[in-house]
């Protein structure tokens, strides 16, 4: 946190550079999402940590002075571990795709603020291990993300810029209905199984993301 504050102050006191003018953007970074829905609380005390990879294109809509509108797409992944009733271990894994848009306002050539909205599917899996038995299941859920962010640019040239992005937002997710089951032995003929549902796992929550962004 001190490092982030130092970087912010450095970027504020940065020297003058040529104005930025790129149409494409690539971001790569990490995120940390607090899992505090009742269903997530059941299986983990941990946050969902992971990474994301994003691309964006400047739409050049010229709606307002210093306001940029970008179309965004992204891929994210994450995982968390936990325990259930002190006797069973749990593992959550998630990956998803997003499509959306970002509005970016230039406060300074090295400082921008933004807001974004994304929607997309997310694949969620849950594994529970207890008493020597391992069961798991996975399902798709829907997500909707809203976030605000700050871009701190280190380099800002006409054809290339490099900087950091901090996003704070919230992910709303539909619950993924799961029925964890034991992996069968494919070499044997096994009995048909009726699987009881463990319920819907909702991995929504507020998150904080950090990215390295590059525009060109």
């Amino acid at each position: 946190m001190r490092t982030l504050l130092a970087l912010a102050l450095m970027s504020i006191a940065g020297t003058a550079a040529p104005a930025f003018a790129g149409n494409h953007e690539i971001t790569f970074g990490s995120h940390n999402r607090a899992l505090r829905t009742s269903s997530a609380n059941a299986v983990t005390n941990d946050t969902l940590g992971g990474g994301h990879l994003g691309v964006a294109r400047h739409l050049r809509l010229d709606l307002y002075t210093r306001l940029e509108v970008w179309a965004t797409g992204g891929f994210n992944w994450g995982g968390a571990e936990g325990t259930l009733f002190q006797s069973m271990t749990t593992e959550i894994d998630s990956y998803g795709f997003t499509l959306g848009g970002r509005a970016r306002y230039t406060l300074h050539r090295l400082l921008h603020v933004s807001a974004r909205v994304d929607v997309g599917p997310a694949h969620q899996s849950l594994t529970i291990v207890g008493n020597g038995h391992t069961v798991s299941d996975a399902a798709w859920a829907g997500t909707a993300t809203a976030a605000i962010g700050v871009d701190l640019m280190l380099l800002a040239f006409p054809r290339f810029s490099l900087g950091f992005r901090f996003d704070l937002g919230y992910v709303a997710a539909t619950g993924a209905s799961l029925s964890p089951r034991q992996e069968g032995d494919s070499s044997k003929i096994e009995l048909d199984a009726m699987q009881a549902s463990i319920g819907k796992l909702d991995l929504g929550g507020r998150f904080l993301a950090f990215s390295v962004l590059s525009q060109f």
Partner: protein, 528 residues
Amino acid sequence: MRLLYLACALSLSTTACAWNDERPIVWERQRSVLGPISLKTQIAYVDSALDRVTLLDLENDTPRITTKNIGRNAMHVVPSHDRHQLFVITRGEEAIHHGQIDQEAMFWALDTNNMQADAIAYTIGSPFDRIAVAPDNTIAIAYFSAAGPDAQGFFRNPNELAVIDLTRPPGDDNPVLKTIRSFGSVPEGISLSPPMIVPGTGTARTFGFILSANNLTVLDVSNPTRREISIRLDLGGAPVIPREVVFAPNTASAYVRSDNARDVLQVLLQSAPATMDNGNDYRPQLAELGAGGGPTDIAVYDDATGKRYILAATPNTSEVVVIDADTAQFRSVPVSDPIDRILLFPTGGTEPPHKALFASIGAKMKRVHVLDLEHINDPLTQASIRRIDLDQAIRDVVPVPERELAMLVHDDNRTVLGLLDMETESTSPLLGVGKLDSYDFSPDGSYLIGATPNVSRVGFVALDNLHPTDFRLDDAPFRVLSTANAKIFVDHGDPLGHATIIPSPSASREEATVLAGFLTINLLDSEP
């Protein structure tokens, strides 16, 4: 502008630091699953962390899963005698940490016939860990086991018990908390009588016989506010510990077998005028039968005329005593071996037993004895007791329900077995591939069903012709149960719930069903 930039950076930093919330404490609780418990056509599990009872209804081809909420920290569960109800004691909880609640210890009664009805909670206040239920399921008593109450709490009263009237809803007077006289001992067990009419009192009542070292306490549980009556049993020597009580409701009497006792004790309840308000209107009259020896086992049966008899083994006198429960007259039959197990055949069903099997388990004898019970009360008829020699010493005898068969166990690992046919009085050996950790009989006694965790199979033995078959499972079994509709339920010991349901002993694999995840059904959808 610089201040704005600094504020943005600081707000992000602060937000990132304040990220971790505490997970509700309910998900950190210790969990123990009680069960499986076989009811009529249902199997029950009690979850101490999810605070619920999971019922698997196997009546139809498709199992149906139902959950019923109960209180915090389930500790003990027993089914009713007719297997239609389930009784659970929950310890409750004290709100010490955030997320916990204050809840007293409770006794829960679940009617498994009515899936729509919620469990009925009776506040018992103390964390009892044993339940005694009357044979007609009208009264239950919650009490402490010999271990006494746990270490939580300030004061401990191991002689406290709660008398619950199951025919009435919970209220200020239901249950009734009571402390019985102890004379330094704590209850070892409680036996509740069937409804008995004490001659001269008119109304049928249930009596509780509370067993403790050197003491037998009689309590009119139909009127639990009345004083109990204590009966001292000690003779000045080794502690006399009552172990078993059999009742003769026709004569409002009971027969008590005790360790280190010198005889079978008869307790005859007779009417007596109450000496105070709400006083007892009966008095127990005690009698030693004069059989001359301390009994090691007793058994009770009703003959075809409804007359009740009690058999008692008295190895000190090398005899087996047949007692007329109504008149207390008895007849001695000499048996040389130190008998400590009595079984009657056929067992269960409506047909009265007509043979008794006597075994010496503790002495590991290589023989058993059979006594014909027909005309046993006729003093002019010679008691016919026959000896059956076995190849190996006997470690246990288990009757087959509704059949005149008994399973003999010849080793501690239950791998060397035998089947005793009481009709022909002959034995047949059975060999198992592994330790018979779990077994049951089909409800009509036509099959022996066995399982061991080392072998992913369920073994069947048709008891008519001793033909063995087995059923391949996909996973190792933990416990096997037979339901009233002859289905075989195989529990695999999975904390999430995993069972194989076999429709019948002769069913093929295609007809069987695996049910998984039933103990955690809808776990994510609601917090305990």
